[in-house]
């Protein structure tokens, strides 16, 4: 063999080794680049470009301050580029929710909270936004322009609302969550929470808010989604371990099988026979039941898997008399309802608000559940349950003869004819139809038959043609009415008010906000004050004709007044307000925003003399 071959082999090997090393360093170099790209949020890296997007569309929300079909103070303002930021103040081009603070929990129409709500579920309102491109989110920024601090939870959905084919599996993942905290400034801010990395791309983001610590309405301008188009390489930095995570129920930490987890817990499992149950054998049955009453639903289900005795306790229908499924909206589906069915035969309060959307609950599944569990139902919360259709309402009206409270708030996809069935629920005491498409005839029918009504909300019911006729019917039939919400009922006049005032003397709460057709010169407010001495809450928001005479009548006649909103009138002077403040000792909320005669000096004086009253004065800049 010539000597050149070993030389060649050595050379080739040497060359090969060099190449390999170069390739390896190159690969590592590339990886380094991509790390740098992620860390520096660079958009120029060709490997994994960061995408920054404003929201394309607002697809769902639970409430808003503005009028339907308007662009003033409505949720649709959250889409697109910011209109106002970085200015602070009360601007029309922002997204505003319907309520703030605890005022709505303190008024006569407040409903009792469900017990056994997990302490980490504090969400009161939500809004869902879509973006153009699906990305792996790296940041979600919320531009808040007034009274920031309401956002407490951000979630991402795996479904693409713009894809033509329905998704195989829909998953919601919590990107960030925190207890409500007070933000001291009311100035605009760009809220940049630290979000978790998830392993699916998303273009559907959901914000959940809690406004209970706010001094006034929060206003949101835009939402920015930062993300990567391709799945990011795991960064060298480990993600911060949030102490809150460790306290949460572990089904929220298990990213991949959340749904399965909940359903696993809910399903009955076979148990081995144990020797004894320790001290539990000594405790009386009722006492164990009482102890278990304090457990949240997932804990109850976990406990059921420990031993036969506790299994029996945890599956006892007495544990399911008040059932709050709203905190689990992201996981609850037909299967969950099926598993729960057997235990829910005695359920009296059922909260399915926010559940079932995007195909999670079907009409058939809901109907089956209600057929088993509806007979004792007294209170049914179905706010924002978009899976509902006419058949569901028919089933409710047939299966729930004892129903006293029905909440269909923001079920704006329910067709008008669905509401005809509600008239069969003659025992109804509370009915919430905020932002629904209920029509005049159906509503008149309901009012005719549901004479036990005490609480009625018709806020933003835009399909009603003539509110005077409605008011007349209420005055004639609903003698027990205590609270009435006519927020944005566009065409009610003094005639309707007169019938209300004379027909429902027990009224304690009346919301006539943004009803522009009421004119004080007709004497309608004075009449109201004289005929409704029990009034505790009166909202005359943006009624420009409220004047001193009306305030004086309220001061004389409605001494139990606790909450009064006279935003935007130019005809009320500090003198008459002082009389009101002196006369109504229980007054705790007074909104005089945009009342031109009440300047900041007057407000300061009032604050000094009446320290128990929260006087609200909003401003634009």
């Amino acid at each position: 063999m010539p000597p050149v071959f070993p030389m060649l082999t050595v050379l080739t090997m040497f060359y090969y080794l060099c190449l390999r090393r170069r390739a390896r360093t190159a690969a590592r170099g590339e990886m380094m680049n991509s790390h740098r790209a992620i860390e520096s949020n660079s958009r120029t890296s060709p490997l994994n470009a960061e995408v920054v997007q404003y929201a394309k569309e607002v697809v769902d929300f639970s409430s808003h301050y503005g009028s339907e079909n308007s662009m003033t103070y409505t949720m649709w303002n959250l889409a697109g580029v910011p209109n106002v930021f970085p200015s602070s103040g009360d601007f029309t081009q922002t997204a505003v929710f319907r309520t703030y603070g605890t005022w709505w929990d303190q008024c006569p129409s407040a409903s009792l909270p469900f017990k056994r709500t997990p302490p980490n579920f504090q969400s009161q309102d939500y809004v869902e936004l879509t973006f153009e491109q699906q990305v792996y989110p790296t940041a979600v920024h919320v531009l808040e322009t007034y009274h920031p601090g309401a956002v407490i939870r951000i979630l991402a959905c795996s479904a693409n609302p713009y894809s033509p084919s329905p998704p195989a599996e829909v998953r919601w993942e919590i990107l960030w969550s925190e207890r409500p905290t007070k933000v001291n400034a009311s100035q605009a801010r760009q809220f940049k929470p630290c979000i978790k990395q998830i392993n699916f791309p998303t273009n559907l983001i959901r914000l959940e808010v809690n406004s209970s610590l706010l001094d006034y309405y929060t206003e949101l301008d835009a939402v920015v989604l930062h993300g990567m188009k391709d799945k990011p390489v795991l960064s060298l930095k480990t993600s911060l371990i949030d102490m809150n995570d460790l306290e949460e129920d572990d089904y929220e930490e298990n990213n991949d099988c959340g749904l399965d987890n909940l359903n696993k817990k809910l399903s009955s499992t076979a148990l081995r026979e144990g020797p004894n149950n320790g001290y539990f054998d000594k405790l009386p049955y009722e006492l164990i039941q009482l102890i278990l009453n304090h457990l949240t639903l997932p804990d109850l289900c976990r406990l059921a898997q420990t031993c036969k005795l506790l299994n029996q306790h945890c599956y006892d229908p007495l544990q399911y008399i008040h059932l709050n499924l709203q905190p689990y909206w992201a996981k609850l589906n037909d299967t969950s309802l099926e598993f729960l069915q057997a235990r829910c035969t005695l359920v009296q309060w059922l909260n399915l608000s926010w559940t079932g959307n995007r195909g999670f609950i079907s009409v058939a599944g809901f109907s089956r559940f209600l057929k088993v569990c509806g007979s004792e139902l007294v209170r049914l919360e179905l706010s924002c349950s978009h899976f509902l259709n006419e058949t569901c309402l028919e089933i409710i009206s047939e299966m729930c003869p004892h129903l006293q409270e029905l909440n269909l708030s923001s079920c704006d996809k329910l067709p008008p004819q669905a509401f005809n069935h509600i008239a069969k629920l003659c025992g109804l005491k509370r009915l919430v139809l905020y932002r629904t498409k209920v029509e005049q005839t159906a509503l008149l029918s309901i009012l005719n038959f549901c004479s036990e009504l005490q609480h009625l909300s018709l806020g933003s019911c835009v399909m009603i043609e003539d509110y005077d006729v409605i008011a007349s019917m209420i005055g004639a039939k609903c003698k027990k009415l205590r609270t009435l919400d006519l927020w944005r009922c566009k065409n009610i006049t003094e005639n309707g008010i007169a019938e209300l005032a004379s027909g429902c003397p027990l009224l304690e709460e009346l919301d006539l906000g943004w009803c522009p057709t009421l004119q004080s010169s007709t004497g309608c407010f004075a009449k109201l004050a004289r005929q409704l001495p029990n009034l505790q809450k009166l909202f005359l928001t943006a009624n420009r004709s409220v004047c001193d005479t009306d305030i004086e009548e309220l001061a004389c006649n409605c001494t139990r007044l606790r909450q009064l909103d006279i935003l935007g009138t130019r005809m009320v002077s500090p003198v008459s307000l002082r009389k009101l403040l002196e006369s109504c000792k229980d007054l705790s909320l007074l909104d005089v925003s945009f009342c031109s005669q009440i300047d900041n000096r007057a407000v300061l004086e009032f604050n000094g003399s009446f320290p128990n009253v929260f006087i609200k004065k909003s401003f634009t800049q």
Partner: protein, 309 residues
Amino acid sequence: MFSVLSYGRLVARAVLGGLSQTDPRAGGGGSGGDYGLVTAGCGFGKDFRKGLLKKGACYGDDACFVARHRSADVLGVADGVGGWRDYGVDPSQFSGTLMRTCERLVKEGRFVPSNPIGILTTSYCELLQNKVPLLGSLGRENKWRPFLFLGSSTACIVVLDRTSHRLHTANLGDSGFLVVRGGEVVHRSDEQQHYFNTPFQLSIAPPEAEGVVLSDSPDAADSTSFDVQLGDIILTATDGLFDNMPDYMILQELKKLKNSNYESIQQTARSIAEQAHELAYDPNYMSPFAQFACDNGLNVRGKQSLGRS
């Protein structure tokens, strides 16, 4: 050249839109690309400061906007009616906010190009959704000026539907528009007046003045639609222009418009506005307004000498 006068409300606001081809693929047969508007505006308010008009700016008592959406370009002018000044109301607030609301509506696409009255109606309704009260204050000093906008306004909206090459207009009051093609006026708005010098108005009256204030719903606007061609010039203006400059003078100025780029249009707009401005203060000039006034039995020269309306 321009003296400061304390009386007389004169605003000449001219917004010119020159129709031009936005699509550079101008050659080779077919229908060509979409049309587009090249716009410029100029105006003079009471303070007689000359100024280039920013989009959506408010000048004197008048305001205007230019906005575009996917398929349409929209121009609008609004003339604040001076009569409210006696009530302590700044007329520019209302007209300015009306135009800004129209602009926002257009940018968000909440309109139908063939229905410009819809833009006015929707904008008017949106104005009512403001928390700030839209009422006049009688005889009181207006302490909250930044927050209150109120009064009345005339309005003219012009929508160019780029794909169908049609112009849709809506006109309420004595603002108006002209379409000039080949040196001649081919379309114009009709003047709408209840009676002399009190045009139809959109307004929101204070409760204490109910029944006294003229108030028309936006549906009383005059609306037209017609085809337009490349090279057409659309002039929208408030009454300050039309009352002081007869057509032939306007046409003379427009003839000087050589091409459809922004600078020349801006120059032309400015010269038209300047001329109208001069003529208003010319005591010897018999303006169209003066002519009309004479026909109605009043003796005036220019419009300024009529004093406050």
